[in-house]
Structures are given as C-alpha cells and as structure tokens.
C-alpha cells in the first residue's frame, strides 16, 4: 500500500465514523482495501479520496458502501467436521442444562443459524434453547430472518449436512420457494431472536452458555480482536463455550489463559 493510499483510506474511514458512527478503523486492512477497491470500481471514480464526498453527501451511496464493506459470505454447515466435533464434544455438556442461551455473533445472512437450529433439533435440545443471532448489517439480518436461500446451493449444503453428522435428510428442513429458492422451515426460527448488534461498538450479551463467532475475527485487527474476545468472555456463564472459525485462534490473544481448548483443531474453547 502506498503512503498516499494509506492516508486516503484513513481519511475515508474517519469520515464514515464521524458522519455515520460505523467504525471500520480497526478492521484488518488487506481485506478492507479490496472492498474499498470494489466500491471505487462500482462508483466509477478513480481514487479512494473521490469516494469521500460521495459518502458524506449522499446517504444512499453510503448505504451501498456499507453493504460492500460487510459482504457476508457464509454457508450451511460450513466446515462440516466442526459440526461433527461439536456434536461429540459440546452437546453432552449442553444436555445437562435445563435451558440454553446461545449468542450467534456476526450471523450475517443466517445460514449457520439455521444449521445450528437443525443440529439442536436433532439432538433434542432445540425446545429449551434461545438463540440470539446478531449482526450490524441490516440487509443481511433481514435475509437471515426470512430464511430464503438459493436453490443452486442446496446440493452443496446437503452434502455438508451429511458430512456434519446429520441424522435425517436435509430436505426435511426446507420447502421450495420461488423457482430458484428454498424457504427454511419456520419452526427452525421459533426460538431465534434476530437483533442488530455491532461487535465494534456495542456491549455485553449476558449469561450465554455458548457463543458462536466464526470467521468474523479474521476481519479485525489485533486490538479489535481483543476487545471482542473480552466481550465474549464477559458474556459467557462460567464454563461456557466459545466456537471460532477453523483459522481463528485464542493463541496470542489477551484472553488466551481464560479459556481451555476443548477441540484445538476445530477451535472449540471453554471458559475456565
């Protein structure tokens, strides 16, 4: 990154923060920069600086930028082996609780929320579970609430479901929507509360038995990662579980010693 471009990006992020309150200043730069470059292409301007007046004076333009900045990419039963490990390592503990509270932080368009709902149903735990599924991207959250997904992905999801240790058939959990979509069974979201929450600026969610936050921390710098991990620690009950993405880790973080590793390879942790 050239020095000039770095200055431009800092100014852009400052402008967004001061005008709209969204704070991307502690996002990992390499990915964010690619997203900014996409905005430049779409807006047909030729520098990062040229985006700034558009963002400051045009709220609709900013809404589009916000969508670009948080392009959610997720899938049903992403990393099936993680789900498999979760069934073996965590479900037996969850079974001992009379009720279970789960925070799905950064749920994006909700595919993994439904995946978890399916798994909890199959393990007989869904009826005593409350899931709080949060994201700062309203558009993604609306998709999550609707639970309508592309038919083209279903074959892949079905494969994931099977590898994840699914006990039934994936087609039991959705209905045909329009010609190219499927609608997730409404009973799966009966105990799910979808809510707006920004990990960068918002506070603790209390007394959770389990927090899922997979492939979100990789977008943050070290400082923001530590803030969010502390938030998680303070939102968990004693002996609560934390699941991160397979390429994320508590190693070298400020909460490393607060957790024990349950399943190092699949990043399942438990508060000591």
């Amino acid at each position: 990154m050239t020095k000039t471009e770095e200055i431009e990006i800092n100014l852009l992020l400052d402008a967004i923060y001061r005008k709209y309150g969204y704070d991307f200043r502690n996002y990992a730069r390499a990915s964010l920069k690619r997203r900014i470059q996409n905005c430049i292409l779409r807006a047909e301007v030729n520098s990062v600086s040229a985006l700034i007046p558009l963002i400051l004076h045009d709220k609709d333009f900013f809404s589009e930028v916000l969508v670009q900045f948080s392009v959610p990419v997720t899938e049903m039963f992403r990393d099936p082996i993680f789900y498999h490990a979760f069934r073996l390592q965590v479900i037996p503990y969850l079974q001992t609780y009379p009720f279970i509270k789960i925070w799905h932080a950064g749920c994006a368009t909700g595919e993994e929320v439904y995946s978890f709902a399916i798994m909890l149903k199959e393990e007989g735990l869904y009826d005593r579970t409350t899931i709080f599924a949060t994201d700062f991207n309203e558009e993604a959250l609306n998709t999550a609430k609707e639970g309508i997904y592309r038919l083209a992905n279903v074959k892949y999801y079905t494969n994931n479901y099977q590898k994840a240790g699914g006990k039934s058939t994936f087609s039991d959990y959705y209905y045909a929507g329009g010609y190219d979509s499927v609608i997730m069974d409404a009973s799966l979201k009966k105990n799910v509360t979808f809510a707006h929450h920004n990990l960068v600026s918002d506070g603790v969610f209390g007394e959770m038995h389990l927090i899922l936050c997979r492939n979100v921390l990789i977008y943050f710098d070290k400082q923001l990662q530590n803030r969010v991990l502390n938030l998680f620690r303070n939102s968990l009950i004693r002996k609560g579980f934390l699941c991160l993405g397979t390429c994320e880790s508590l190693q070298f973080s400020s909460v490393e010693n607060a957790f024990e590793e349950i399943e190092p390879e699949y990043k399942i942790y438990r508060l000591s």
């Binding site: 990154m1 770095e6 990992a28 730069r29 390499a30 990915s31 690619r34 997203r35 392009v71 990419v73 997720t74 992403r78 990393d79 099936p80 082996i81 590898k163 492939n215 990789i218 977008y219 070290k222 993405g245 397979t246 390429c247 994320e248 880790s249 070298f252």
Partner: protein
C-alpha cells in the same frame, strides 16, 4: 539453454516467492520440493486450488519430501524465511502491509477460494520488486491478473511453459497477461529457484 541475464540483477533483491497452481499441482509441487536446496532461504507462499473440505493431507505429504518446513498460513502471523506456506482450504490468503498473513472468507474470485490473484495482488503491493511470482499447471485463468500486477510493480514473473505443463490453460492465460514472463519447464524453474542468493540484509528483517 535459457538465459536469465536481463533480470539477473534482481535476484539478490528477492525476499519472497509466491506460487499459484491448480489442476496437476500435487506432482509439480512434489518435483519442485524434492529438488529444492536444503539451504533455500526465501519463504515460498503457495495458493493451490483445493477442495473446500481438504484436510491437512497435502501439508503432511509435502512435509515429508520438502527440505524446509511446510505449514498452513496462519492469520496475523509473520512470514518466516526458509518455510513453505500454503493458503488454507476455503479461505483467501492476503498479505498485510506489516508482512503478516491475513485470511478472508470473501466471495470466490475466478471461482476459487483461495484465489491466486488475491494472494499475488496483495503480496505485490507489499513486496513490490522484491517479489517473484510463478504460475504452474492449471485449467482456469486464476493468477493471470495477479502475475501481471507483480510485473507492473517490478517483480520477477515466471510461467511454466504451457507446452510442458500437464494443464496448459492457466500458464497460457498468465503468459498472455504478462508476455514479459520467462516461460520455463519444471527443471528450469527449480534451477532458477536454487540459484537465488538473497541478500542477507533482505532476510535479516525477518528475525
């Protein structure tokens, strides 16, 4: 024989090698690793297109045959010399300006995640003319744009000679995008790699 004379002066400036490989990758990488000098000092950063659920088999396999350590790139970790790093399956690999790895689950690029273009483009911005980019066998066009950017930033670019590659398409697209690249067969690529003598001053910044 071939001649590297036009770019010879740049050898000692090299700090990092990035390699992109797709279909046919296991055998070409095996061949390169088997012949790599045990005292090879540069980090080799590799994007190999893999099945999204690919486990660690390739890492274990290559660890057996490579003369230097082989591992997956880890988020926020620094790049060490004399190591071979693979992008993890189903993640894009990027380089941050402080020369650490970054990962993302952003949309596929060229139908691929990890994408060669994503690694090459971000690495070229950080390492500029200290970067060597290599495109090997493959059946798609990923990497062509990234290789072009490496050349534009003054780095060295090498493409496996399409006539000798198991799958010619990827090298072909790369050559079309960056005609100034050296087109070499596999043993020439190994000779090239083994002939790099990085300045110790370039590598010392890693310790």
């Amino acid at each position: 024989m071939y001649s590297f004379s036009p770019i010879q002066d740049n050898f000692s400036a090299l700090e990092v090698v990035v390699i992109g490989v797709s279909a046919g990758g296991m055998s070409v990488l095996s061949e390169i690793f088997q012949q790599l000098r045990p005292d090879f000092r540069l980090p080799l950063l590799i994007v190999q297109h893999l099945h999204p659920h690919q486990g660690n088999f390739h890492i274990e396999y290559f660890s057996e045959i490579a003369p230097i350590p082989v591992q997956e790139m880890e988020e926020k970790q620094p790049i060490h010399p004399a190591r071979i790093y693979f992008a993890p399956a189903n993640y894009h690999a990027l380089i941050e300006s402080d020369k650490t790895f970054a990962l993302s689950v952003d949309e596929k690029v060229n139908y691929a995640r990890p994408s060669i273009d994503v690694l090459f483009e971000t690495a070229s911005e950080v390492f500029q003319h200290h970067l060597l980019g290599i495109i090997l066998t493959g059946a798609n066009r990923d990497g062509a744009k990234g290789l072009r950017q490496i050349a534009d930033f003054g780095g060295i670019t090498i493409v496996q000679d399409p006539d000798t590659a198991q799958f010619a398409a990827m090298p072909q697209f790369a050559l079309e995008a960056t005609p100034s690249s050296q087109a070499l067969n596999l043993s020439e690529i190994v000779v090239f790699l083994n002939s790099i003598h990085p300045k110790l001053s370039n590598l010392s910044k890693y310790w």
